[in-house]
């Protein structure tokens, strides 16, 4: 076999021996569509786009508030258009998916202990979901009470 290598490197200096460990095929960018957990992973990653989109919409709301009643009313009128409502429904679905996956991963990200005993993951998840409900009600009350 050594002979073959000699021949190849002398006739073609760039010739390289077959190295299976270097073989890394280029995957399709749609590698994730065939398996449910992968789809869930990609959808979870894409939720960040909708989180950012709403951050931008919040900037517009704050800007309208700072510009005066007329600017605010114009924005409120836009919120009532079918396009805006449709957009918000889509954003809502993604941010709720973000929230659910985020809270479910909370015990993995933070380990809480009482004394030496680790608080079970299920307890942390439940507390997160209860806090989510309580904080949502608090914000809704603050806004609607105005």
């Amino acid at each position: 076999m050594a002979k073959t290598d000699d021949i190849n490197t002398s006739t073609n200096p760039r010739y390289q021996r077959y190295r299976p460990e270097r073989y890394s095929p280029r995957m399709s960018i749609f590698w994730w569509v065939h398996k449910k957990p992968f789809v869930k992973f990609i959808v979870r990653e894409l939720t960040s786009l909708f989180v950012a989109a709403y951050a931008v919409l919040l900037i517009f709301q704050v800007r309208a508030l700072s510009q005066g009643a007329e600017a605010w009313e114009a924005l409120v009128a836009w919120f009532s258009t079918p396009f805006s409502i449709g957009l918000h429904v889509i954003i809502f679905l993604f941010v709720v998916f973000h929230a659910i996956t985020w809270f479910n991963l909370a015990p993995t990200a933070m380990v809480l202990r009482i004394g030496k005993k680790r608080i079970p993951g299920g307890v942390i998840i439940t507390i997160n979901f209860l806090m989510w409900i309580a904080l949502s009600l608090a914000i809704a009350t603050l806004i609607l009470a105005r």
Partner: protein, 117 residues
Amino acid sequence: MANKKNNDPFWWTLFGAGGTISAFFIPIHVALIGIAIPLGWFAMPDYEGLVELARHPLSRIYLFALISLSLFHWAHRFRFTLYDGLQLKHLEQYIVVFCYGSAIVGTVIGLIFVLSI
């Protein structure tokens, strides 16, 4: 590249804080301001009342944190979405500048408006 590794915990902290605050608070804002009120399930509060609420120092901090941290959450996660999903590792520097840069710009704009209410 060593520099990038040193910065990662910093960006990850902002990602984590943004993920948490956006998970807790954005759904109710979207549901209320973007869906329930426009559909007439609730009445939109008056402009004066909302401005008064938004002018409270705690509201300003809340709005600024919600805007800024949500953007940094996006920046960090979307950076890796582009790497893993679209296999754009070779464009790393541009992606990093675009993602974190956009979040920084949004943070500054958000701060200006939050302070000018």
